[in-house]
Protein backbone atom coordinates (compact mmCIF):
# COMPACT_ATOMS: atom_id res chain seq x y z
CA UNK A 1 0.00 0.00 0.00
CA UNK A 2 1.44 3.37 -0.94
CA UNK A 3 1.53 6.20 1.52
CA UNK A 4 -0.98 9.03 1.46
CA UNK A 5 1.07 11.28 3.70
CA UNK A 6 4.76 11.21 4.35
CA UNK A 7 6.62 13.77 6.42
CA UNK A 8 10.33 14.01 6.92
CA UNK A 9 11.71 15.90 9.87
CA UNK A 10 8.87 18.41 9.87
CA UNK A 11 9.59 21.37 12.13
CA UNK A 12 7.88 24.64 12.92
CA UNK A 13 9.13 27.52 15.01
CA UNK A 14 6.84 30.49 15.51
CA UNK A 15 8.76 33.76 15.76
CA UNK A 16 8.56 35.58 19.07
CA UNK A 17 5.56 37.84 19.29
CA UNK A 18 6.75 39.69 22.39
CA UNK A 19 8.64 42.43 20.61
CA UNK A 20 5.78 43.65 18.50
CA UNK A 21 3.35 43.78 21.37
CA UNK A 22 5.90 45.21 23.74
CA UNK A 23 6.33 48.28 21.59
CA UNK A 24 2.57 48.66 21.51
CA UNK A 25 2.30 48.50 25.27
CA UNK A 26 5.24 50.86 25.62
CA UNK A 27 3.41 53.34 23.47
CA UNK A 28 0.55 53.13 25.90
CA UNK A 29 2.95 53.62 28.75
CA UNK A 30 0.31 53.74 31.44
CA UNK A 31 -0.87 50.22 30.71
CA UNK A 32 2.41 48.39 31.10
CA UNK A 33 3.17 49.07 34.78
CA UNK A 34 -0.46 48.49 35.62
CA UNK A 35 -0.73 44.99 34.25
CA UNK A 36 2.87 43.91 34.04
CA UNK A 37 1.99 42.67 30.58
CA UNK A 38 4.96 44.32 28.95
CA UNK A 39 7.38 42.54 31.23
CA UNK A 40 5.78 39.15 30.70
CA UNK A 41 5.89 39.48 26.92
CA UNK A 42 9.49 40.63 26.92
CA UNK A 43 10.48 37.18 28.13
CA UNK A 44 8.64 35.19 25.45
CA UNK A 45 11.07 33.82 22.89
CA UNK A 46 10.36 31.88 19.71
CA UNK A 47 7.85 29.09 20.22
CA UNK A 48 8.86 25.67 18.98
CA UNK A 49 5.63 24.01 17.89
CA UNK A 50 7.08 21.01 16.07
CA UNK A 51 10.44 19.32 16.29
CA UNK A 52 11.36 16.89 13.54
CA UNK A 53 8.09 15.06 13.01
CA UNK A 54 8.31 11.92 10.86
CA UNK A 55 5.03 10.36 9.85
CA UNK A 56 4.07 7.81 7.24
CA UNK A 57 0.34 7.35 6.74
CA UNK A 58 -0.89 4.70 4.33
CA UNK A 59 -3.70 5.17 1.83
CA UNK A 60 -7.09 4.30 3.24
CA UNK A 61 -5.89 4.52 6.81
CA UNK A 62 -7.76 6.19 9.67
CA UNK A 63 -4.94 7.93 11.46
CA UNK A 64 -5.17 9.75 14.76
CA UNK A 65 -2.94 12.46 16.19
CA UNK A 66 -3.29 12.41 19.92
CA UNK A 67 -1.92 14.92 22.35
CA UNK A 68 -2.78 17.55 24.93
CA UNK A 69 -3.53 21.17 24.03
CA UNK A 70 -0.49 22.88 22.60
CA UNK A 71 1.18 19.62 21.60
CA UNK A 72 1.50 20.67 17.97
CA UNK A 73 -1.45 18.80 16.50
CA UNK A 74 -3.06 21.82 14.88
CA UNK A 75 0.30 23.00 13.56
CA UNK A 76 0.86 19.57 12.00
CA UNK A 77 -2.55 19.68 10.32
CA UNK A 78 -1.90 23.28 9.26
CA UNK A 79 1.33 22.31 7.51
CA UNK A 80 -0.16 19.24 5.86
CA UNK A 81 -3.08 21.31 4.56
CA UNK A 82 -0.72 24.00 3.17
CA UNK A 83 -2.02 26.72 5.47
CA UNK A 84 1.14 26.95 7.57
CA UNK A 85 4.67 26.98 6.20
CA UNK A 86 7.03 24.55 7.87
CA UNK A 87 10.36 26.01 9.00
CA UNK A 88 12.18 22.76 8.33
CA UNK A 89 11.62 19.33 6.84
CA UNK A 90 9.28 18.33 4.05
CA UNK A 91 5.87 16.76 3.62
CA UNK A 92 4.24 14.89 0.75
CA UNK A 93 0.45 14.76 0.85
CA UNK A 94 -1.55 12.78 -1.73
CA UNK A 95 1.50 12.61 -3.94
CA UNK A 96 2.39 16.31 -3.96
CA UNK A 97 4.78 18.42 -1.92
CA UNK A 98 2.99 20.86 0.39
CA UNK A 99 5.68 23.52 0.06
CA UNK A 100 6.28 23.47 -3.69
CA UNK A 101 2.95 22.23 -5.10
CA UNK A 102 0.34 23.54 -2.66
CA UNK A 103 -2.30 23.91 -5.37
CA UNK A 104 -2.15 20.22 -6.26
CA UNK A 105 -2.31 19.26 -2.59
CA UNK A 106 -5.34 21.50 -1.99
CA UNK A 107 -7.14 19.92 -4.93
CA UNK A 108 -6.74 16.49 -3.38
CA UNK A 109 -7.51 17.16 0.27
CA UNK A 110 -10.56 18.12 2.30
CA UNK A 111 -10.25 19.99 5.57
CA UNK A 112 -12.65 20.12 8.50
CA UNK A 113 -11.56 22.95 10.78
CA UNK A 114 -11.34 22.92 14.55
CA UNK A 115 -14.10 25.51 14.84
CA UNK A 116 -16.83 25.59 12.19
CA UNK A 117 -16.06 28.50 9.87
CA UNK A 118 -18.89 28.43 7.34
CA UNK A 119 -19.35 31.41 5.05
CA UNK A 120 -21.97 33.17 7.15
CA UNK A 121 -22.96 35.54 4.37
CA UNK A 122 -24.34 32.58 2.42
CA UNK A 123 -26.97 29.98 3.23
CA UNK A 124 -26.33 26.28 3.77
CA UNK A 125 -26.51 25.00 0.22
CA UNK A 126 -24.70 28.04 -1.18
CA UNK A 127 -21.85 27.28 1.19
CA UNK A 128 -21.44 23.92 -0.51
CA UNK A 129 -22.07 25.12 -4.06
CA UNK A 130 -19.61 27.99 -3.89
CA UNK A 131 -16.99 25.83 -2.26
CA UNK A 132 -17.45 23.36 -5.10
CA UNK A 133 -17.06 26.22 -7.57
CA UNK A 134 -13.71 27.18 -6.00
CA UNK A 135 -12.62 23.67 -6.95
CA UNK A 136 -13.89 24.04 -10.49
CA UNK A 137 -16.99 21.84 -10.30
CA UNK A 138 -19.55 22.86 -12.91
CA UNK A 139 -22.73 24.34 -11.41
CA UNK A 140 -25.11 21.48 -12.17
CA UNK A 141 -22.75 18.88 -10.75
CA UNK A 142 -22.02 21.04 -7.70
CA UNK A 143 -25.70 21.45 -7.02
CA UNK A 144 -26.40 17.76 -7.32
CA UNK A 145 -23.51 16.82 -5.06
CA UNK A 146 -24.44 19.48 -2.50
CA UNK A 147 -28.01 18.18 -2.26
CA UNK A 148 -26.86 14.58 -1.97
CA UNK A 149 -24.35 15.45 0.75
CA UNK A 150 -26.90 17.45 2.74
CA UNK A 151 -29.30 14.50 2.57
CA UNK A 152 -26.57 12.11 3.62
CA UNK A 153 -25.72 14.22 6.65
CA UNK A 154 -29.37 14.75 7.65
CA UNK A 155 -29.45 18.47 7.03
CA UNK A 156 -31.28 18.27 3.71
CA UNK A 157 -34.29 20.11 5.15
CA UNK A 158 -32.07 23.03 6.21
CA UNK A 159 -30.63 23.64 2.75
CA UNK A 160 -31.91 27.20 2.53
CA UNK A 161 -31.50 28.08 6.20
CA UNK A 162 -28.98 30.63 7.40
CA UNK A 163 -25.83 29.00 8.66
CA UNK A 164 -26.20 30.76 12.01
CA UNK A 165 -29.53 29.01 12.54
CA UNK A 166 -27.91 25.57 12.51
CA UNK A 167 -26.97 23.81 15.74
CA UNK A 168 -23.34 23.12 16.55
CA UNK A 169 -23.60 19.52 15.40
CA UNK A 170 -25.31 20.50 12.16
CA UNK A 171 -22.65 23.12 11.47
CA UNK A 172 -19.95 20.53 12.05
CA UNK A 173 -21.69 18.16 9.63
CA UNK A 174 -21.92 20.99 7.12
CA UNK A 175 -18.17 21.46 7.45
CA UNK A 176 -17.64 17.78 6.69
CA UNK A 177 -19.97 17.97 3.71
CA UNK A 178 -18.01 20.98 2.49
CA UNK A 179 -14.75 19.12 2.85
CA UNK A 180 -16.15 16.26 0.77
CA UNK A 181 -17.71 18.25 -2.06
CA UNK A 182 -14.74 17.87 -4.40
CA UNK A 183 -14.19 14.19 -3.55
CA UNK A 184 -10.81 14.52 -1.86
CA UNK A 185 -8.53 11.55 -1.38
CA UNK A 186 -7.36 12.63 2.06
CA UNK A 187 -9.53 14.27 4.69
CA UNK A 188 -8.12 16.19 7.64
CA UNK A 189 -10.23 16.72 10.72
CA UNK A 190 -8.98 18.97 13.48
CA UNK A 191 -10.71 17.98 16.72
CA UNK A 192 -14.03 17.45 14.95
CA UNK A 193 -16.00 16.44 18.03
CA UNK A 194 -15.03 19.26 20.38
CA UNK A 195 -18.12 20.99 21.71
CA UNK A 196 -20.59 18.38 20.49
CA UNK A 197 -23.08 16.65 22.76
CA UNK A 198 -22.63 12.86 23.17
CA UNK A 199 -25.36 12.04 20.68
CA UNK A 200 -23.98 14.34 17.98
CA UNK A 201 -20.55 12.92 18.65
CA UNK A 202 -21.73 9.36 18.10
CA UNK A 203 -23.46 10.42 14.89
CA UNK A 204 -20.22 12.02 13.72
CA UNK A 205 -18.26 8.87 14.57
CA UNK A 206 -20.55 6.89 12.32
CA UNK A 207 -20.05 9.40 9.50
CA UNK A 208 -16.29 9.17 9.88
CA UNK A 209 -16.32 5.36 9.95
CA UNK A 210 -18.40 5.31 6.77
CA UNK A 211 -16.01 7.68 5.03
CA UNK A 212 -13.10 5.48 5.99
CA UNK A 213 -14.96 2.40 4.81
CA UNK A 214 -15.26 4.05 1.37
CA UNK A 215 -11.50 3.90 1.17
CA UNK A 216 -10.64 7.50 2.04
CA UNK A 217 -7.64 8.37 4.13
CA UNK A 218 -8.66 10.20 7.29
CA UNK A 219 -6.33 12.11 9.56
CA UNK A 220 -7.91 13.27 12.79
CA UNK A 221 -6.56 15.12 15.77
CA UNK A 222 -8.17 14.64 19.12
CA UNK A 223 -7.48 14.82 22.79
CA UNK A 224 -10.10 12.27 23.67
CA UNK A 225 -8.46 8.90 24.34
CA UNK A 226 -11.73 7.07 23.95
CA UNK A 227 -12.35 8.59 20.54
CA UNK A 228 -8.89 7.71 19.28
CA UNK A 229 -9.24 4.18 20.63
CA UNK A 230 -12.64 3.66 18.99
CA UNK A 231 -11.97 5.12 15.58
CA UNK A 232 -8.36 5.04 14.53
CA UNK A 233 -6.42 2.29 12.78
CA UNK A 234 -3.19 3.84 13.95
CA UNK A 235 -2.30 6.53 16.42
CA UNK A 236 0.55 8.93 16.90
CA UNK A 237 1.07 10.41 20.33
CA UNK A 238 2.52 13.91 20.20
CA UNK A 239 3.62 16.11 23.02
CA UNK A 240 5.53 19.40 22.92
CA UNK A 241 6.12 19.08 19.20
CA UNK A 242 7.70 15.63 19.38
CA UNK A 243 6.45 12.27 18.27
CA UNK A 244 6.39 9.97 21.29
CA UNK A 245 4.87 6.79 19.86
CA UNK A 246 3.14 5.48 16.72
CA UNK A 247 1.21 2.22 16.66
CA UNK A 248 -2.25 0.68 16.55
CA UNK A 249 -4.37 1.49 19.61
CA UNK A 250 -3.96 -2.15 20.69
CA UNK A 251 -0.21 -2.07 20.18
CA UNK A 252 0.06 1.13 22.16
CA UNK A 253 -1.96 -0.31 25.02
CA UNK A 254 0.40 -3.25 25.18
CA UNK A 255 3.29 -0.83 25.42
CA UNK A 256 1.67 0.77 28.45
CA UNK A 257 3.97 0.21 31.39
CA UNK A 258 3.17 -2.77 33.60
CA UNK A 259 -0.54 -3.14 34.01
CA UNK A 260 -2.76 -1.11 36.28
CA UNK A 261 -1.82 2.41 37.26
CA UNK A 262 -2.37 3.24 40.92
CA UNK A 263 -2.27 6.89 41.83
CA UNK A 264 -1.93 7.86 45.49
CA UNK A 265 -2.59 11.34 46.74
CA UNK A 266 -0.58 11.98 49.94
CA UNK A 267 -0.53 14.78 52.45
CA UNK A 268 3.13 15.52 51.76
CA UNK A 269 6.06 14.76 49.49
CA UNK A 270 5.77 11.25 48.03
CA UNK A 271 9.34 10.47 47.00
CA UNK A 272 10.10 8.20 49.96
CA UNK A 273 6.93 6.20 49.30
CA UNK A 274 7.78 5.81 45.61
CA UNK A 275 11.30 4.67 46.44
CA UNK A 276 10.01 2.04 48.89
CA UNK A 277 7.34 0.81 46.44
CA UNK A 278 9.82 0.45 43.62
CA UNK A 279 11.60 -2.32 45.53
CA UNK A 280 8.43 -4.35 45.88
CA UNK A 281 8.38 -7.34 43.47
CA UNK A 282 4.84 -6.67 42.25
CA UNK A 283 5.56 -3.08 41.29
CA UNK A 284 6.96 -2.61 37.80
CA UNK A 285 7.48 1.12 37.98
CA UNK A 286 6.98 3.87 40.53
CA UNK A 287 7.48 7.60 40.54
CA UNK A 288 6.50 10.65 42.53
CA UNK A 289 5.58 14.13 41.46
CA UNK A 290 4.93 16.42 44.41
CA UNK A 291 2.28 14.81 46.57
CA UNK A 292 1.21 12.35 43.87
CA UNK A 293 2.74 8.90 43.63
CA UNK A 294 2.19 6.84 40.47
CA UNK A 295 2.75 3.11 40.63
CA UNK A 296 2.30 0.53 37.87
CA UNK A 297 1.48 -2.94 39.10
CA UNK A 298 0.39 -6.23 37.52
CA UNK A 299 -1.61 -7.14 40.61
CA UNK A 300 -4.12 -4.36 40.17
CA UNK A 301 -6.04 -3.36 43.25
CA UNK A 302 -4.46 -6.11 45.39
CA UNK A 303 -1.38 -3.94 45.81
CA UNK A 304 -3.29 -1.15 47.58
CA UNK A 305 -2.95 -2.34 51.21
CA UNK A 306 0.80 -2.76 50.73
CA UNK A 307 1.07 0.75 49.35
CA UNK A 308 -0.86 2.22 52.25
CA UNK A 309 1.55 0.48 54.60
CA UNK A 310 4.50 2.04 52.77
CA UNK A 311 2.91 5.43 53.13
CA UNK A 312 2.29 5.01 56.84
CA UNK A 313 5.85 3.83 57.39
CA UNK A 314 7.20 7.05 55.93
CA UNK A 315 4.78 9.08 58.02
CA UNK A 316 2.32 10.06 55.29
CA UNK A 317 -1.44 9.69 55.15
CA UNK A 318 -3.16 8.57 51.95
CA UNK A 319 -5.85 11.09 51.03
CA UNK A 320 -7.06 9.66 47.74
CA UNK A 321 -6.54 6.59 45.57
CA UNK A 322 -7.22 6.30 41.88
CA UNK A 323 -6.98 3.14 39.79
CA UNK A 324 -6.67 3.08 35.98
CA UNK A 325 -6.78 -0.12 33.96
CA UNK A 326 -4.23 -0.45 31.14
CA UNK A 327 -5.40 2.01 28.50
CA UNK A 328 -4.14 4.66 26.17
CA UNK A 329 -4.55 7.03 29.06
CA UNK A 330 -2.11 5.15 31.28
CA UNK A 331 0.30 4.94 28.35
CA UNK A 332 0.02 8.65 27.77
CA UNK A 333 0.71 9.39 31.40
CA UNK A 334 3.64 6.98 31.23
CA UNK A 335 5.05 8.74 28.15
CA UNK A 336 4.51 12.35 29.09
CA UNK A 337 4.25 12.28 32.85
CA UNK A 338 1.01 14.21 32.74
CA UNK A 339 -2.65 13.75 32.17
CA UNK A 340 -4.40 14.43 28.93
CA UNK A 341 -7.04 17.05 29.39
Amino acid sequence: MSSAIRTDGLGKVYPPTGRLRRSASEREGWLAPLTGEGRALRASGPIVALEGLDLDIAEGEFFGLLGPNGAGKTTTIGILTTRIRATSGSAIVAGANVATEPQIVRQRIGVVPQRPNPDRALNVIENLCFHAAYFGLPNALANRRAKALLEEFDIGDRAHAKVDDLSGGQQQRLMIARALIHEPQVIFLDEPTVGLDPQARLALWKVLRDLNAQGRTLVMTTHYMEEADQLCDRLAIIDQGKLLAVDTPQGLKEQAPGGTLVELELDGDGRAVAAAAELHPDVSRAGAKGNTVRIYSDRGSAIIPTLIQFAEKSGRTVKDIHLSRPSLETLFIGLTGRKLD
Binding site: T81, V111, N117
Partner: protein, 203 residues
Protein backbone atom coordinates in the same frame (compact mmCIF):
# COMPACT_ATOMS: atom_id res chain seq x y z
CA UNK B 1 -21.59 7.05 -1.95
CA UNK B 2 -22.49 9.66 -4.50
CA UNK B 3 -22.99 8.87 -8.12
CA UNK B 4 -21.25 11.72 -9.87
CA UNK B 5 -20.15 11.88 -13.46
CA UNK B 6 -16.82 10.16 -13.22
CA UNK B 7 -15.32 11.97 -16.17
CA UNK B 8 -16.13 15.40 -14.75
CA UNK B 9 -14.59 14.56 -11.39
CA UNK B 10 -11.51 13.08 -13.02
CA UNK B 11 -10.92 16.20 -15.09
CA UNK B 12 -11.28 18.34 -11.98
CA UNK B 13 -8.76 16.26 -10.10
CA UNK B 14 -6.29 16.87 -12.89
CA UNK B 15 -6.36 20.57 -12.01
CA UNK B 16 -8.48 23.67 -12.41
CA UNK B 17 -7.73 26.78 -14.42
CA UNK B 18 -6.99 29.82 -12.28
CA UNK B 19 -9.53 31.83 -14.28
CA UNK B 20 -12.30 29.40 -13.33
CA UNK B 21 -11.50 29.76 -9.64
CA UNK B 22 -11.21 33.53 -10.00
CA UNK B 23 -14.65 33.66 -11.60
CA UNK B 24 -16.07 31.56 -8.76
CA UNK B 25 -14.53 33.87 -6.15
CA UNK B 26 -15.97 36.91 -7.93
CA UNK B 27 -19.34 35.22 -8.18
CA UNK B 28 -19.35 34.62 -4.44
CA UNK B 29 -18.47 38.25 -3.63
CA UNK B 30 -21.04 39.59 -6.09
CA UNK B 31 -23.68 37.33 -4.58
CA UNK B 32 -22.86 38.63 -1.10
CA UNK B 33 -22.83 42.21 -2.40
CA UNK B 34 -26.28 41.66 -3.90
CA UNK B 35 -27.61 40.32 -0.61
CA UNK B 36 -26.25 43.39 1.13
CA UNK B 37 -27.39 45.82 -1.53
CA UNK B 38 -29.72 47.95 0.64
CA UNK B 39 -27.03 48.44 3.29
CA UNK B 40 -24.47 49.12 0.60
CA UNK B 41 -26.63 51.82 -0.95
CA UNK B 42 -27.35 53.53 2.35
CA UNK B 43 -23.65 53.45 3.24
CA UNK B 44 -22.64 54.71 -0.18
CA UNK B 45 -25.22 57.47 -0.42
CA UNK B 46 -25.25 58.84 3.10
CA UNK B 47 -21.69 60.03 3.43
CA UNK B 48 -21.31 62.00 0.18
CA UNK B 49 -24.78 63.35 0.84
CA UNK B 50 -23.64 64.82 4.14
CA UNK B 51 -20.39 66.07 2.64
CA UNK B 52 -22.11 67.82 -0.21
CA UNK B 53 -24.79 69.30 2.05
CA UNK B 54 -22.24 70.69 4.49
CA UNK B 55 -19.40 71.71 2.18
CA UNK B 56 -21.27 72.22 -1.05
CA UNK B 57 -24.50 73.80 0.17
CA UNK B 58 -24.48 75.05 3.78
CA UNK B 59 -21.04 76.60 4.02
CA UNK B 60 -21.24 78.53 0.75
CA UNK B 61 -24.79 79.62 1.69
CA UNK B 62 -23.63 80.91 5.04
CA UNK B 63 -20.89 82.84 3.33
CA UNK B 64 -17.93 80.96 4.81
CA UNK B 65 -16.74 79.87 1.40
CA UNK B 66 -16.67 81.99 -1.70
CA UNK B 67 -18.28 80.65 -4.82
CA UNK B 68 -15.09 81.26 -6.77
CA UNK B 69 -13.86 84.59 -8.00
CA UNK B 70 -10.87 86.31 -9.50
CA UNK B 71 -9.09 85.85 -6.13
CA UNK B 72 -9.08 82.05 -6.52
CA UNK B 73 -7.93 82.31 -10.08
CA UNK B 74 -11.43 81.97 -11.41
CA UNK B 75 -11.83 78.42 -10.11
CA UNK B 76 -15.38 77.56 -9.31
CA UNK B 77 -15.61 76.19 -5.77
CA UNK B 78 -17.74 73.18 -6.68
CA UNK B 79 -15.30 72.04 -9.36
CA UNK B 80 -12.62 71.94 -6.69
CA UNK B 81 -14.82 70.24 -4.12
CA UNK B 82 -16.26 67.50 -6.28
CA UNK B 83 -13.05 65.51 -6.97
CA UNK B 84 -12.28 65.50 -3.27
CA UNK B 85 -15.67 64.13 -2.31
CA UNK B 86 -15.42 61.64 -5.14
CA UNK B 87 -12.04 60.44 -3.96
CA UNK B 88 -13.04 60.15 -0.33
CA UNK B 89 -16.20 58.12 -1.01
CA UNK B 90 -14.27 55.90 -3.36
CA UNK B 91 -11.64 55.11 -0.77
CA UNK B 92 -13.96 54.72 2.17
CA UNK B 93 -16.50 52.52 0.45
CA UNK B 94 -13.76 50.22 -0.84
CA UNK B 95 -12.40 49.92 2.67
CA UNK B 96 -15.82 49.29 4.15
CA UNK B 97 -16.91 46.71 1.65
CA UNK B 98 -13.71 44.66 1.42
CA UNK B 99 -11.05 45.56 3.95
CA UNK B 100 -13.20 45.58 7.08
CA UNK B 101 -14.86 42.19 6.39
CA UNK B 102 -11.39 40.79 5.77
CA UNK B 103 -10.19 42.09 9.13
CA UNK B 104 -13.01 40.04 10.64
CA UNK B 105 -12.19 37.01 8.53
CA UNK B 106 -8.54 36.93 9.47
CA UNK B 107 -9.14 38.04 13.02
CA UNK B 108 -11.67 35.69 14.50
CA UNK B 109 -14.34 34.25 12.19
CA UNK B 110 -11.77 32.55 9.90
CA UNK B 111 -14.44 32.36 7.23
CA UNK B 112 -12.01 33.08 4.44
CA UNK B 113 -10.23 29.79 5.06
CA UNK B 114 -12.61 27.96 2.76
CA UNK B 115 -11.30 30.17 -0.04
CA UNK B 116 -7.68 29.80 1.04
CA UNK B 117 -8.15 26.07 0.46
CA UNK B 118 -9.05 26.63 -3.18
CA UNK B 119 -6.51 25.06 -5.51
CA UNK B 120 -4.98 28.33 -6.71
CA UNK B 121 -2.14 30.49 -5.50
CA UNK B 122 -3.08 32.58 -2.48
CA UNK B 123 -2.14 35.80 -4.25
CA UNK B 124 -4.97 35.22 -6.74
CA UNK B 125 -7.43 35.33 -3.85
CA UNK B 126 -5.88 38.62 -2.76
CA UNK B 127 -6.10 40.02 -6.30
CA UNK B 128 -9.76 39.04 -6.43
CA UNK B 129 -10.41 41.04 -3.26
CA UNK B 130 -8.63 44.07 -4.77
CA UNK B 131 -10.72 43.84 -7.93
CA UNK B 132 -13.89 43.52 -5.88
CA UNK B 133 -12.96 46.51 -3.72
CA UNK B 134 -12.27 48.54 -6.84
CA UNK B 135 -15.63 47.63 -8.32
CA UNK B 136 -17.54 48.58 -5.20
CA UNK B 137 -15.56 51.81 -4.92
CA UNK B 138 -16.50 52.68 -8.50
CA UNK B 139 -20.18 52.06 -7.90
CA UNK B 140 -20.02 54.25 -4.80
CA UNK B 141 -18.23 57.04 -6.62
CA UNK B 142 -20.77 56.99 -9.44
CA UNK B 143 -23.50 57.63 -6.87
CA UNK B 144 -21.77 60.82 -5.81
CA UNK B 145 -22.17 62.57 -9.16
CA UNK B 146 -25.98 62.89 -9.26
CA UNK B 147 -26.12 63.65 -5.54
CA UNK B 148 -23.58 66.45 -5.97
CA UNK B 149 -25.41 67.84 -8.96
CA UNK B 150 -28.70 67.85 -7.05
CA UNK B 151 -27.41 69.60 -3.98
CA UNK B 152 -24.68 71.89 -5.21
CA UNK B 153 -26.54 72.99 -8.30
CA UNK B 154 -24.99 73.15 -11.73
CA UNK B 155 -21.28 72.36 -11.71
CA UNK B 156 -19.28 73.66 -14.68
CA UNK B 157 -18.35 70.82 -17.05
CA UNK B 158 -20.47 68.24 -15.18
CA UNK B 159 -22.91 68.03 -18.04
CA UNK B 160 -24.57 65.20 -19.89
CA UNK B 161 -22.29 65.70 -22.86
CA UNK B 162 -19.30 65.18 -20.56
CA UNK B 163 -20.93 62.27 -18.76
CA UNK B 164 -18.78 59.58 -20.34
CA UNK B 165 -15.54 61.24 -19.33
CA UNK B 166 -16.74 62.12 -15.86
CA UNK B 167 -18.12 58.65 -15.20
CA UNK B 168 -14.95 56.96 -16.35
CA UNK B 169 -12.86 58.92 -13.88
CA UNK B 170 -13.99 57.11 -10.73
CA UNK B 171 -13.66 53.81 -12.56
CA UNK B 172 -10.07 54.41 -13.49
CA UNK B 173 -9.04 56.25 -10.37
CA UNK B 174 -8.86 53.32 -7.93
CA UNK B 175 -6.08 51.78 -9.93
CA UNK B 176 -3.95 54.67 -8.72
CA UNK B 177 -3.89 56.26 -5.33
CA UNK B 178 -7.23 57.76 -4.32
CA UNK B 179 -5.75 61.19 -4.62
CA UNK B 180 -5.09 60.70 -8.28
CA UNK B 181 -8.84 60.45 -8.81
CA UNK B 182 -8.38 64.05 -9.73
CA UNK B 183 -5.90 63.17 -12.48
CA UNK B 184 -8.55 61.31 -14.42
CA UNK B 185 -11.38 63.78 -14.07
CA UNK B 186 -12.00 66.02 -17.08
CA UNK B 187 -9.23 68.50 -17.54
CA UNK B 188 -11.42 71.54 -17.51
CA UNK B 189 -12.88 70.67 -14.11
CA UNK B 190 -9.55 70.03 -12.60
CA UNK B 191 -6.76 71.54 -14.52
CA UNK B 192 -6.22 74.46 -12.24
CA UNK B 193 -6.29 73.71 -8.54
CA UNK B 194 -8.27 70.56 -8.11
CA UNK B 195 -5.58 68.25 -6.88
CA UNK B 196 -4.51 70.75 -4.27
CA UNK B 197 -8.03 71.22 -3.00
CA UNK B 198 -8.73 67.50 -3.08
CA UNK B 199 -5.75 66.78 -0.90
CA UNK B 200 -6.66 69.53 1.52
CA UNK B 201 -10.11 68.01 1.93
CA UNK B 202 -8.80 64.52 2.57
CA UNK B 203 -8.19 63.92 6.25
Amino acid sequence: MLRSPVAAMASIRAGVAASTVFAALMRRDLRVARLELPFFLVRVALQPLLFTIVFGYLLPRMGFIGRGSAATGGVHYSTALLPGILAISLTLSSIQSVALPMVQDFGWTREIEDRLLAPVSTSLIAVEKVVMGTLQGCVAALFVLPIARLIMGPIPDLTLSNLGTVASSPCLAPWHSPRSASCWAPRSILSRSASCSASSLLP
